[in-house]
């Protein structure tokens, strides 16, 4: 976890277009994200949130434009990113212990054979930071959804990156675990840039400094612009409600058709 000056840019995207099988997913994306920012990516399903993440991780290549992550191409800075995928996509029967999952964050440090002592120490430290040290020997499949989510964050922390990217961490976990998760992320944000995809703008507005709306176009709003009242207007009375027809555009949010 290197100390970075607050003025440094973590992610810079210029004039990016991405199409999948001829269907445009993202168009004319320009985005600049400062180091130690905390931002949440919102938008309708199929709007390109996951695509944007994958482009930043270098798992997809843009058709046009460029992406710079931590001052380099996404492929080159990949190892400096802590990535937290959705836990729900794991094989529930896979026999692997919590510690071994977290050690995968150190995979780039070994070629063959066993992990070294510093790797074990880093993994245990990451588990301790997530309050999971006593679960190290348990099977990943046996623990609860909220715990699994935190194990995956511990794995990302064990990698000791500068940028933490989480894909829908609030899906499938209960409200208490979710609140705990945002507390933890708030603490981590003191030293890391945190980027999170969510449906849940209610919690997002409390914790995040910026909000990125993704729906073919990508627009960044500082959270200060996004007052509680605006969110209620956007999402209707119940702010935990999920809206799929929500549109983002450079002109701002359209306010019709509250679901």
């Amino acid at each position: 976890m290197t100390a970075t000056s607050t003025q440094e840019t973590a992610i810079r995207i210029r004039d990016l277009d991405f199409a999948y099988n001829g269907t445009p997913i993202l168009e004319g994306v320009n985005l600049e994200i400062m180091a130690r920012d905390s931002l949440c990516i919102v938008g309708p399903n199929g709007g390109g949130k996951t695509t944007l993440l994958k482009l930043i991780l270098g798992l997809l290549k843009p058709n046009r434009g460029e992406i710079e992550v931590l001052g380099q191409t996404p492929e080159k800075s990949r190892l400096r990113i802590g990535y937290v995928p959705q836990y729900a996509r794991y094989d529930p029967q896979f026999p692997v212990t919590v510690l071994n999952v977290v050690l995968m964050g150190r995979l780039d440090r070994i070629f063959c054979g066993a992990y070294a002592k510093p790797d074990h120490e880093a993994a245990m430290a990451a588990l301790a930071e997530m309050d999971l040290a006593d679960l190290a020997g348990r099977l990943f499949a046996e623990i609860s959804g909220g715990q699994r989510q935190r194990v995956l964050i511990a794995r990302a922390l064990a990698a000791e990156g500068e940028l933490l990217i989480l894909d829908e961490p609030t899906a499938n976990i209960d409200a208490a675990s979710e609140e705990h998760l945002f507390e933890v992320l708030g603490k981590l944000n003191e030293r890391l840039t945190v980027m999170l995809v969510t449906h849940d703008v209610g919690f997002a507005s409390k914790f995040f400094k910026s909000i990125v709306c993704v729906n073919r176009q990508v627009v960044l709003h500082p959270t200060s612009e996004l007052t509680g009242e605006l969110i209620r207007n956007m999402y209707g009375g119940d702010i935990r409600m999920i809206r799929h027809d929500h549109r983002c555009s450079p002109e701002g949010h359209c306010t019709h058709g509250i679901s």
């Binding site: 190892l79 995928p85 026999p95």
Partner: protein, 282 residues
């Protein structure tokens, strides 16, 4: 008892060879079988196993028709298995859709090529013994081959344990940690291919896949981690082959099917027990 005497009998070396080959190969079967079950690529392993017949046919043809004595059915099997592993691996990496159709086609084409070669090989060759196994065919040379392949497979699979574990558990994340996942996936399929060849003589092409996956599947009901699953799968594999050979010898039954039926019964029993335990807990 009768079986133990027979094992020591110098007049019937093939039984001893089959037993030794089975014990040695169990190590590779336990380890690779665990990866195959955990990664859920039984179908791909099955296709590789069936393509081996193409290589066996080509080997027989080269040996008997063309007189190339150094390229027999076993060499053919190894080449075909590796080739099939790489082709099927590339298909499954690059074909996003209809992967199962393509693999099913390769499965059948491999077998068809083998049968065509066997048909054109002079002299009568019984394809049955390759399809369903025949321990009478095992020679001392095969035993050495099993030993060499076994060392190779077990060595590679244990040396890169953590890489394979990560590629099986979460391929995308492994890639993001700088692991060349496609390479390790292909390597895993090649090791699977070599493992399949180890026991083709004992249980045959059609049934070898059961011996690869059933011990690991039984072990998965009890194991607390991939490593434990490998140890247990190896022990299960040894016991299935050992008891299968003994029962088949004592009752004059073909050894391959006997081994597979025992493995299958163990699998069904373990799964039923697990279901029973689960339903009682709820």
């Amino acid at each position: 008892m009768e079986f133990l005497n027979a094992l020591a009998d110098p007049a019937i070396p093939f039984l001893r060879y089959a037993f030794a080959a089975g014990i040695m190969a169990s190590l590779a079967f336990g380890i690779i079988g665990t990866y195959v079950v955990a990664r859920r690529i039984t179908y791909i392993a099955g296709a590789i196993a069936h393509c081996v017949l193409g290589g066996i046919g080509a080997g027989l043809y080269c040996e008997h028709k063309l007189g190339i004595t150094w390229f027999g059915p076993l060499s053919g099997a190894i080449v075909a298995a590796l080739l099939a592993a790489i082709i099927i691996g590339l298909v499954s990496i690059h074909a996003n859709q209809r992967e199962d159709t393509a693999i099913g086609a390769l499965w059948a084409i491999g077998m068809a090529i083998g049968l065509l070669f066997i048909a054109k090989t002079p002299g009568y060759i019984e394809p049955m013994s390759y399809l369903f196994g025949n321990i009478l065919l095992i020679s001392k040379f095969d035993l050495w081959m099993v030993l060499v392949l076994d060392t190779l497979v077990v060595g590679t699979a244990t040396l890169f344990y953590h890489k394979f574990l990560a590629v099986c558990f979460d391929e995308e994340y492994a890639r993001l940690r700088g692991v060349r996942t496609d390479l390790y996936y292909l390597l895993l399929l090649c090791l699977t291919a070599l493992t399949v060849v180890l026991l083709v003589r004992v249980v045959g092409i059609v049934m070898v896949i059961a011996l690869l996956t059933l011990p690991a599947a039984v072990a998965s009901n009890f194991a607390k981690g991939l490593w434990q699953m490998m140890v247990m799968a190896t022990l299960f594999c040894i016991s299935f082959i050992g008891s299968g050979l003994a029962i088949s010898y004592n009752n004059d039954l073909p050894s391959g099917p006997t081994i597979i039926v025992i493995a299958g019964l163990a699998y069904l029993t373990a799964t039923a027990l697990q279901q029973f335990r689960k339903s009682r807990r709820n």
